[in-house]
């Protein structure tokens, strides 16, 4: 039932007027059977185009797509047996919910009793009841979303493709649907590709995340990998928040890099593959939530508080370092705790494993 998916050197060039625009280039990915992989990236990065090529809505300019060992690169959409959930749900407005869900079954010439049974099952699966005779515009956004899901699940697709399916829902509902989708996907063991620009969604939902930028793959890895060992400054910055400090890499020893940061020597772990592994200019990624501020004592770096923002669950401090560059530090907030004032001298502390060295220089500094 479940199948794996293999994408090899996929590329897409659109020709608009006389100008060629390369939306996607050199994308390769293997998705194991039953795995959920999200494509994450800023809008316009090409992630949706990749998904639409897997679906068959767009024809790749180069590369191949293999589903369960079968090359489907040029197979028409309606013969691929995929399920596609659209951002705007794309429910047929002129058909009842029952007819919407039954649409694919009718295309496959399923007999009527079977259709009735399977539509009911699919609606049950997504937690909808007594909506069969209603029309899409009579349902709420969340309900429409469930119908869209039921409409593809009823066909028991080998491959489930979702294009920002939750972006039209409000925040609370989004959280709920996120777990629903994951539950159903794991229950049915469907191989699934999921496009989103919401990093939280990507991290909580996926087995693996593929970060896409400007039509290229930046990194493919588990949510932990991306957070702890980003292979590029783009990924470091895009997943969570990151302070990126320029540093000089003096030497490598084992899995540690000896560096010079603001005139002080440090030894931090480095990310293999983030660039040519040798001494030279690089960057240190230090996440704001890993920084501890102390009023006095033995901090690793000295700083001065510039601004203070209260965000609710934590305090955000903008602090300036010795060379003047400003970085962010997040401190969990509980009522009654002492706060730092702008202008106050503080010390920054962090655990040895928190910062990570990348063999990439920050551009445009």
């Amino acid at each position: 039932m479940t199948v794996d998916l293999c994408i090899e050197g996929l590329g897409k060039t659109f020709i608009k007027g006389k100008e060629a625009f390369t939306a996607v280039r050199g994308v390769s990915l293997h998705v194991a059977a039953g795995e959920l992989v999200t494509f994450l990236g800023p809008s316009g990065c090409g992630k949706t185009t990749i998904l639409r090529m897997v679906a068959g809505f767009e024809t790749p300019s180069e590369g191949s797509i293999t589903v369960g060992g079968r090359d489907v690169t040029t197979l028409p959409v309606h013969m691929r047996g995929i399920g596609f959930v659209f951002q705007n749900y794309a429910l047929f407005p002129h058909m009842s919910i029952f007819e919407n869900v039954a649409y694919g079954l009718r295309a496959a010439k399923t007999d009527e009793t079977e259709i009735t049974r399977r539509v009911a099952e699919a609606l049950e699966l997504v937690g909808l009841r007594k909506v069969e005779s209603r029309f899409p515009n009579q349902l709420s956004g969340g309900e429409q979303q469930r119908v869209a899901l039921a409409r593809v699940l009823v066909l028991q697709p080998k491959l489930l493709l979702m294009d920002e399916p939750l972006s039209n829902l409000d925040a609370k509902l989004r959280l709920h649907m996120r777990t629903e989708i994951r539950r159903i996907q794991q229950h049915l063991e469907i191989t699934c590709l999921y496009v989103t620009h919401d990093q939280k969604e990507a991290l909580t939902l996926s087995d693996r995340v593929m970060v896409v930028n400007k039509g290229r793959v930046e990194q493919i890895g588990t949510p932990f990998d991306l957070y702890a060992a980003p292979k590029s400054l783009f990924v470091a910055d895009f997943i969570g928040q990151a302070n990126i400090l320029p540093a000089r890499i003096v030497a490598l020893s084992g899995d540690k890099a000896e560096i010079d940061l603001l005139g002080k020597p440090f030894s931090f772990r480095f990310v293999p593959g983030s660039g040519p592994e040798r001494a030279g200019n690089g960057s240190v990624v230090l996440r704001p939530e890993n920084i501890v501020l102390t009023p006095h004592g033995s901090g690793r770096l000295d700083a001065t508080v510039r601004h203070r923002f209260f965000v609710g669950d934590h305090m955000e401090y903008d602090v300036s370092l010795a060379d003047g560059q400003v970085i962010a530090a997040f401190v969990p907030y509980s009522p009654g705790m002492a706060l730092f004032e702008p202008g106050q001298r503080v010390h920054l502390d962090f655990s040895d494993n928190a910062p990570v060295v990348l063999f990439q220089e920050k551009a445009g500094v």
Binding site: H78, I82, N88, F92, A108
Partner: protein, 567 residues
Amino acid sequence: MARSPLAAPPRDQGGPLIKNPTLVPVLTLLWIILILFVLYPAVKLLLVTFSVDGAFSLQNFSGIWKSAYDRQALWNSLFLGVCVALSGTFLGFCFAYFAVRMRVPAFLKWLVGVLTLLPLISPPFTSSVALTLALGPNGIILSFLGIPQVSFYGFWGTWIAETLTYFPVAFLALAAVLVSLDPSMEDAALSLGSSPWRVFRTITLPMTTPGLANSLLLLFANSLADFATPLVLAGHTFPVLPTQAYLQITGLYDLRGGAALSFLLLVPALAAYLLQHYWVSRKSYVTITGKSGARSSLKGMGSIGETAVFIICIAVSLFVVFLYAIIFMASFVKVFGVNHSFTMEHFVYVFQYGNKAIKDTLIVACLATPIGGLLAVVIGFITHRKKFLGNRFLDFTCMLNYALPGTVVGIAYIVAFNEKPLVLTGTLTILVAAYIFRYFAAGIRSVVASLHQIDKNIEEASLSLGAGAGRTFFKVTLPLVIPAVLAGMKYLFIHSMTAISATIFLVSVNWTLLTTRILESMTGLQFAQASAFSVVLIVLVFIGSGSMTLLVRFYSSRLAGVKEISS
């Protein structure tokens, strides 16, 4: 569009006239001319139709019911309307599908687009003249195919000519619908395993149903009101209402009988208009899902269907080209179909004997266009931005002459202005007024549409900076709606040059029109002169509407530049 009174903010209910004293004289003037040129003729027509010697009576209709010929005209009109609506919508849909959905070279789409525009800017006789030369007695197609004599006059000729004349209307309406159809619907259907043809059948077609209904009603109304085509092609075997009403009045001098006939025409025409305007136009699947998904590549309906559409579109396009070529050629040769040696004598004739008609036509169009444009701005602004009691009635009044068949309007005008207190028949005023109040509705519509897109805050900003209502209108609102006004004026200009159904009753020795000269040439079997007149008219319309299109582009691009700077 006027908002419903419930939706209007309560503060506007107070006293808008007290708040905007400058509008009082404007509004008063507007109502005076609208009552004079729209409501008064309409009421007068009803009075003449339903009264005999000052008392209510249905006597005028008894003559029609007794005459089998007139009864036949009613059924013929309705039958023809249904046929034209069906065939025109079918062709329009094929062309729209071709232009919007099919993977064909861009120049082919452009060419087809231009060809579908031709009938829209041509005088109403063009296709009739050309069809007569092609398919009529001794027509070149018939002689080429060796078919001796087919009765082309009557239903078949009228049907073909009206279909070719009006399918572009369906094309424009349906192309707009197809373009705005959410492509993810079809993507979804395909991904659920439907074949392209099934997607077309179960998704594309059902979702364009409101658009198709709209097109059917539009074409039905157009065919019902068409006067020129049946006058030339229907002949005695196939009487229809507009021509019967015309003959009743000009041939038998029976104004009351003609008025009664035109009333029969008015009922289905108004019904079709109201249905289209207030019911179908609200039922639309187009924007139901709000945020649309990714841009999608073109989806077809499967190779068999697409081949059929392709063949139909190319064949019809070639036929249209062929018809225009015939007109063009017939105006430059001695006797078309007999002696094909080049001559300019028909154009010499046109400029010698038709000089006055050319001049009069241009004067009428050049007066009607700017006045109609100005009225369109003022009325569009008032009905859209200011909340007055009677706004909806104002809107309805402005649409009335547009919704009524031209023949009805023409008859209403002679009924109203042929006797005291206001004798205007035979004057320039009545011709200009007839065109303005019949065709300025399009201008109002486009002004209102563009006002919808201008944020009210912009005007409020001007007011808050100390500019009065008048200054705000002239300095802020007007410059922003100019492209829309020009588009409306272009429509008015084209129809002032080419429309005949209303003004055929209003021309005189003093003021005559090119279209009536074409008609005279046709009835006098002077096909060459008719062709030459047509060519001159087409060229004039082309120059006029072309320069207005350039003006629209100029202003639009300037506005686009402004928007870029401000964002």
